[in-house]
C-alpha cells in the first residue's frame, strides 16, 4: 500500500542519483574538491655575449603571518616591529587583512626583506608563532641603469595585456616585460606555467597536493652586447644627454648601446612612487627615452659622405674637381654660409670632407638634386627603421620632392636641397642609423643590419643585401674620413685620433643646429658657455676602425654638446679604442676576431 509506494519512490530516487547519474555527480564532487593552482615559471635570464647576467632573478624574502597559528595578531606584529622596520600603516593593513580573510590564509606582512632582516626573524621564530619567511624570485638588474635602455624593465601586468589568454597574467604579482628586449622577447622569456592540483575543503583550505607539473623556466636570452664595452661607453659619455652605439660592422652585432641619462630598471619592478615617476617624466634630459633608437637629430655634416657618394656615382663630379669656397654660397637671392666665415678657398672632395666645407657640398648637392641624395641615404640605412629588437625605434626622415608635396603640400625649393647637403633642414636620423651608415661605409659590400639578440642557431654572419657601391667611389669618401681624423692639417677631428698603431679610426664630425643661426649670432661668435643648454648645437660623430681592416662602427650623439669635433669625437675615439682592445676578450682563441678581416 502507501508504504510500498513511498519506499519504492526512495529506492528509485537513490538508483537515479547513485547509478544513473553517478558519473555526473562524481565529476561535480571532484570539481568541488580539486583546485588548480598555477605555478609561475622563472623568467629567462638575459645575458651579454659572454653570459654575464644583465637581467637575472634574485631570491627575495617576504614575511607572512598565518593568524590561526598565533594567539594575538597584534602582539605578534608588535614583536615583529621590534625586529624589523614595520610602519604603522603596514600594521593596520595586516590587522585589517587578517580579520577579513579566513584565518588559515597567509597574509603578507612585508616584502623585500634584506638578508639581515631574514636572519633576525629566523633567530626569533620561537617567539613568533604563525610567522613564516617565504622565498620568491624577482627580476633583478645587477648593472642598474647601465643597460636599462637595452633590457627595458618588467612591471605589473596591465589591463591591455589581460586580454591575452595566458592565465599566468592573472596571478597577483606577476611581471611582464614593459620595454626593451624584456618586452620584445616576452613570450620566450616568460616560460610556461606549471600547475598544482590540490584538494581543498569547503573553506578553501588546502588539504593535500594531488598532482604537480612544474613550471617550465623561460628561455635565456643572450645579447650581442659586451657589458664591459657598454659600461665603458656609458662612463665615457658621463653626465651628458646623448647616445653611443657601437657595432660589429661585419655581422651587425650591437656591442654597446648607451642612451644617457638612464633609469634604474629595478625601481620599476619594485613599483615606482608617483613622485619618482613624475621626476623621470619631467626630466628635460628625458631619461625614459632610448635616444639611440628614438632620438631623431639632423645628422649635420656626418651626412656629407652620402652627398659625395651620390655625386661620384652619378659622375657629376670627379674627386679632384674643385669648388671655390669664399665662405658663402648664393642661390637666387639667398646666401648660404659656410661654417668657416672666411672660406676654404679651392677644395676637392677629400679636402671638403676633411675640413667639412659646407660650400663645396652646397654646390655638389645643387647639381645632384635632393632625390638622388635621398636614394643614396636610403641605401645607407636612413629613413627606415633598422628593426633592431628594441622598443620605440623611430625611422628618422629622408626628404624627397614627392615627400614634401604629399606631406607638406608644397613644392620643393632649391635652397632646401642645400640644407639637406649639410644634414640640416628636414633631414633626421637616429644614432642607430648613423652607426649603420658608418658600418656600411666600413664594410663596403653589405647592407649591414644591426642585431642585439644573439642568434644561437643561425649563421655567425647573417645574410645581408649587397650595398652595391663602386669601390672607387667608396675609396674617395673613406679617404676623406681618414683625413678628418688623421690629417694634422685641417682634419676637423685630428685632436681625437687614435694613436695606437693599427687601431686608427676614420670618421666624420657633425654639428647640428638646434635653432636658426641669425646674423647677430655670427657676429657675436659667442662662447659655448654663454648659450643656454637647450639652445646649444648637437654634437655628432660617426667612425669606423681600424682603418685598414674595418671591424667596428660607432656613432656618438651628444645633445646640446656643442661641436662634433670637441664633444663627440673624443668619446668615439675612447670607445672605439676600447672596443679594439677588448677584441682579444671577445675572441680569445681567434686572432682574426671570429671573422676574416678585410683588407682595404
Amino acid at each position: 500500500m502507501g508504504q510500498v509506494l513511498l519506499v519504492s519512490g526512495l529506492v528509485g530516487r537513490l538508483y537515479y542519483l547513485q547509478v544513473v547519474e553517478a558519473d555526473t555527480y562524481r565529476m561535480l564532487a571532484d570539481d568541488n574538491r580539486i583546485n588548480m593552482r598555477l605555478l609561475p615559471p622563472l623568467r629567462g635570464r638575459i645575458t651579454d655575449r659572454f653570459g654575464e647576467g644583465i637581467a637575472i632573478n634574485r631570491q627575495t624574502y617576504q614575511l607572512v603571518l598565518v593568524s590561526e597559528q598565533t594567539e594575538s595578531v597584534a602582539d605578534t606584529l608588535d614583536r615583529i616591529a621590534a625586529l624589523i622596520d614595520l610602519s604603522e600603516s603596514d600594521i593596520r593593513w595586516v590587522l585589517k587583512e587578517t580579520s577579513r580573510r579566513s584565518d588559515f590564509v597567509p597574509v603578507t606582512v612585508r616584502e623585500g626583506l634584506s638578508w639581515s632582516e631574514v636572519t633576525r626573524i629566523e633567530v626569533n621564530l620561537p617567539e613568533l608563532p604563525g610567522v613564516l619567511i617565504e622565498e620568491g624570485q624577482s627580476r633583478f638588474y645587477p648593472y642598474s641603469e647601465l643597460a636599462a635602455h637595452v633590457t627595458g624593465y618588467v612591471g605589473a601586468v596591465s589591463e591591455a595585456e589581460l586580454t591575452a589568454a595566458d592565465p599566468l597574467l592573472e596571478l597577483p604579482g606577476f611581471r611582464t616585460g614593459k620595454n626593451g628586449v624584456e618586452k620584445i622577447f616576452e613570450t620566450e622569456l616568460r616560460g610556461n606555467a606549471g600547475t598544482r592540483q590540490v584538494e581543498v575543503n569547503a573553506y578553501g583550505r588546502v588539504i593535500r597536493e594531488i598532482a604537480r607539473q612544474d613550471a617550465a623556466t623561460g628561455e635565456d636570452l643572450t645579447l650581442t652586447i659586451d657589458m664591459g664595452l657598454q659600461g665603458f661607453a656609458a662612463r665615457t659619455l658621463g653626465e651628458e644627454a646623448g647616445s653611443v652605439v657601437v657595432m660589429d660592422l661585419l655581422n651587425g652585432d650591437v656591442l654597446a648601446l648607451v642612451s644617457s641619462p638612464a633609469f634604474d630598471p629595478n625601481a620599476f619592478n619594485q613599483g615606482l612612487t608617483s613622485e619618482a615617476w613624475q621626476a623621470l617624466l619631467n626630466d628635460p634630459k628625458a631619461p625614459l627615452i632610448n635616444k639611440a633608437i628614438a632620438g631623431q637629430y639632423p645628422p649635420g655634416s656626418t651626412f656629407k659622405m652620402i652627398v659625395a657618394m651620390a655625386a661620384l656615382e652619378m659622375g657629376l663630379m670627379a674627386p679632384e674637381d674643385t669648388v671655390y669656397c669664399p665662405g658663402h654660397y648664393t642661390l637666387g637671392n639667398h646666401t648660404f654660409h659656410c661654417w668657416r666665415r672666411w672660406g676654404h678657398g679651392h677644395v676637392g672632395m677629400v679636402e671638403a670632407l676633411k675640413q667639412s666645407c659646407d660650400v663645396y657640398f652646397y654646390d655638389v648637392a645643387h647639381q645632384v638634386g635632393v632625390d638622388k641624395i635621398a636614394e643614396m641615404a636610403e641605401r645607407f640605412g636612413f629613413g627606415a627603421v633598422t628593426n633592431i629588437e628594441l622598443t620605440g625605434e623611430r625611422a628618422g626622415l629622408v626628404p624627397t620632392k614627392a615627400w614634401k608635396e604629399s606631406v607638406i603640400g608644397e613644392s620643393w625649393l632649391g635652397g632646401e636641397t642645400l640644407n639637406v647637403a649639410i644634414g640640416q633642414g628636414y633631414m633626421l636620423a637616429t644614432p642607430m642609423q648613423l652607426a649603420v651608415m658608418a658600418a656600411r661605409l666600413g664594410n663596403g659590400t653589405s647592407k649591414v643590419m644591426p642585431r642585439i639578440a644573439r642568434s644561437t642557431t643561425g649563421p655567425d654572419v647573417p645574410f645581408f643585401e649587397t650595398l652595391n657601391i663602386d669601390p672607387e667611389v667608396l675609396a674617395v669618401v673613406r679617404e676623406g674620413m681618414v683625413a678628418v681624423v688623421n690629417d694634422p692639417v685641417g682634419g676637423t677631428a685630428y685632436g681625437a685620433r687614435i694613436e695606437d698603431e693599427g687601431m686608427e679610426m676614420a670618421g666624420k664630425t657633425g654639428t647640428a643646429q638646434v635653432r636658426r643661426i641669425t646674423t647677430a649670432d655670427r657676429e657675436a661668435n659667442r662662447d659655448l658657455e654663454d648659450i643656454p643648454w637647450n639652445e646649444r648645437d648637437h654634437a655628432l660623430f660617426v667612425a669606423y676602425a681600424p682603418l685598414h681592416a674595418p671591424r667596428y662602427a660607432c656613432a656618438v650623439v651628444i645633445e646640446h654638446g656643442g661641436g662634433g669635433s670637441t664633444a663627440a669625437a673624443p668619446v668615439a675615439r675612447d670607445v672605439l679604442r676600447e672596443a679594439q682592445r677588448r677584441q682579444s676578450v671577445r675572441w680569445p682563441h681567434d686572432d682574426a676576431g671570429g671573422l676574416p678581416g678585410q683588407e682595404v
Partner: protein, 388 residues
C-alpha cells in the same frame, strides 16, 4: 490467585513474565541500526569517537534503559495518563512560546539546569508522542459506529491543530508537518471514514495560498529553492545541491568508510545531523543506503506486527502511532536529502546526532514494546477510569 486470572487486570504480570514477553527482536534491530549510526558519526568526526559517536552511544544506552522501563509500565496506567501527558506537553509548548516572544527570535527548547545535569528540553518532540497517546486514548473510548460520525472528528482535530499552530509559530515547519501527518494518519488507521480525508485534502489544497502567506521568508525560500536548487547554488540551494553531489558521487558501492570527500571536506553541511544519510550513501554507496532502508523496513514491519497482535484498540493505535511517526521521520529525511522534498530539518531516526530526537524515539519504542508486552491485556474504556 488463579493462573488464568493473572492475564487480566492490572499488575497481574510478573516482572519475569514481562521480560519474557519483551520485544527482544525490536531491541536487536534498534541496536543494529544505531550501531550503523555510531559508525557514521565516527566517520563524520574524521575517524574519531569524539565529539559525536561516544555521546550518541551514551544517549542510546540511556534511551535503551528508558525503553525497558516504559515497556514494563502497566498499559492501563499509560492509558489513564495519556491526556495528562498531552496537557503537560501543551503547557511546555506554550512556555517555549512565551519565552521565545520575550527573548530573541526562534526558540524551540527550554533550558533545564538541574544540579549536575543540564539539557535542552524540546517540547515539540514530546508533543509528537503525547499526541499519539491522546489520539489513541480518544479513539479507544469510541466504538466503530461512533468513530464514523463526523462529530468524532472535532476532538482529534483540535488535538492536532493546537500544538501544530504553536510549533508553526516557533517556527518549525518540519515538526509541524510531522505532527499533522502523524496525527491524520493515525486518525485514518483508527477507522475514520475515508471521505473526511478526501474533503480534508481538498480543504488543505484550498488553503495553501493562505498558508503560504503565513510562512516566514526563509521557509518560503526553502520551498522555492527546492523547485530549482541550481538557481542559487551557493545560497539557499547549497544544501540540496551538495547533498545530491555527495549521494551521486558515492555510486553503487560508495567511496569507502571514512573516504567520503564531500562530507570530510565540509562541502556537505550538517553531515552529522540532518544530512547523515547522504554521508552514509556517499561512503557506503547505494548498497549501504539500501541496507539501512531494509533495517528501517524491518523495524516498521515489526511495529505493524505488534499493532496487529494487540488485543486492545488503545494498544493497537499506540503501536501504529509510533510506527507512523517513525516512518514519517525516515521517509521525510531521506526524501529531503535526496532532493525529493524541500529541506525541512527532520533528523534521520537512530542515526542522526541529537539528544532529544534519540530520547523521543526510544520513548516511542518503549511504548511499542509496552504494547507488545501487554498485547493480551484488555484496557478499560471511558471516563470512569479517568486519569486520577
Amino acid at each position: 490467585m488463579v493462573a488464568w486470572s493473572g492475564r487480566f487486570g492490572p499488575d497481574n504480570l510478573s516482572l519475569t513474565e514481562k521480560l519474557g514477553a519483551m520485544s527482544w527482536g525490536l531491541i536487536a534491530l534498534l541496536l543494529l541500526t544505531a550501531g550503523l549510526g555510531f559508525a557514521m558519526l565516527y566517520s563524520a568526526a574524521g575517524g574519531e569517537l569524539r565529539p559525536w559517536a561516544l555521546a550518541q552511544m551514551i544517549r542510546f544506552a540511556l534511551g535503551l534503559a528508558l525503553l525497558l522501563s516504559i515497556a514494563l509500565i502497566d498499559i492501563s496506567r499509560i492509558h489513564r495518563f495519556a491526556y495528562v501527558i498531552y496537557a503537560l506537553a501543551l503547557v511546555l509548548l506554550i512556555a517555549v512560546e512565551v519565552k521565545g516572544s520575550i527573548g530573541m527570535g526562534a526558540q524551540r527548547w527550554i533550558e533545564i539546569d538541574l544540579p549536575g545535569f543540564r539539557f535542552q528540553l524540546q517540547p515539540s518532540e514530546i508533543m509528537k508522542i503525547a499526541l499519539v497517546l491522546a489520539i489513541a486514548r480518544y479513539f479507544h473510548g469510541l466504538n466503530a459506529e461512533q468513530t464514523r460520525k463526523w462529530t468524532s472528528l472535532i476532538v482529534p482535530c483540535l488535538l492536532i491543530c493546537v500544538p501544530t499552530a504553536m510549533v508553526m509559530r516557533q517556527p518549525d515547519l518540519g515538526t509541524a508537518v510531522m505532527i499533522v501527518a502523524g496525527g491524520v494518519t493515525l486518525m485514518f488507521l483508527a477507522g475514520v471514514a475515508l471521505r473526511w480525508f478526501v474533503g480534508g485534502a481538498l480543504l488543505t489544497l484550498g488553503s495553501l495560498p493562505v498558508a503560504w502567506s503565513l510562512l516566514h521568508d526563509y521557509q518560503k525560500q526553502r520551498v522555492l529553492t527546492f523547485w530549482d536548487p541550481a538557481s542559487d547554488p551557493l545560497g539557499a540551494g547549497y544544501h540540496i545541491t551538495q547533498s545530491k553531489i555527495a549521494l551521486g558521487s558515492g555510486g553503487l558501492f560508495g567511496k569507502g568508510f571514512l573516504e567520503g570527500t564531500q562530507s570530510h571536506l565540509s562541502f556537505l553541511p550538517e553531515k552529522q545531523t540532518d544530512f547523515i544519510f547522504t554521508m552514509l550513501a556517499e561512503e557506503l554507496g547505494m548498497v549501504g543506503a539500501l541496507l539501512l532502508i531494509a533495517l528501517y523496513l524491518l523495524i516498521i514491519a515489526y511495529g505493524f506486527g505488534v499493532a496487529l497482535r494487540s488485543s486492545s484498540q488503545f494498544g493497537r493505535l499506540l503501536a501504529l502511532g509510533v510506527v507512523v511517526t517513525f516512518s514519517l521521520y525516515v521517509f521525510i529525511n531521506i526524501a529531503m536529502v535526496t532532493g525529493l522534498i524541500p529541506v525541512v530539518g527532520v533528523p534521520l531516526p537512530l542515526i542522526s546526532y541529537g539528544g532529544t530526537a534519540m530520547i523521543t524515539l526510544m520513548v516511542g519504542f518503549g511504548l511499542l514494546a509496552n504494547v507488545h508486552v501487554h498485547r493480551d491485556m484488555p484496557v478499560g474504556r471511558g471516563s470512569s477510569q479517568g486519569p486520577f
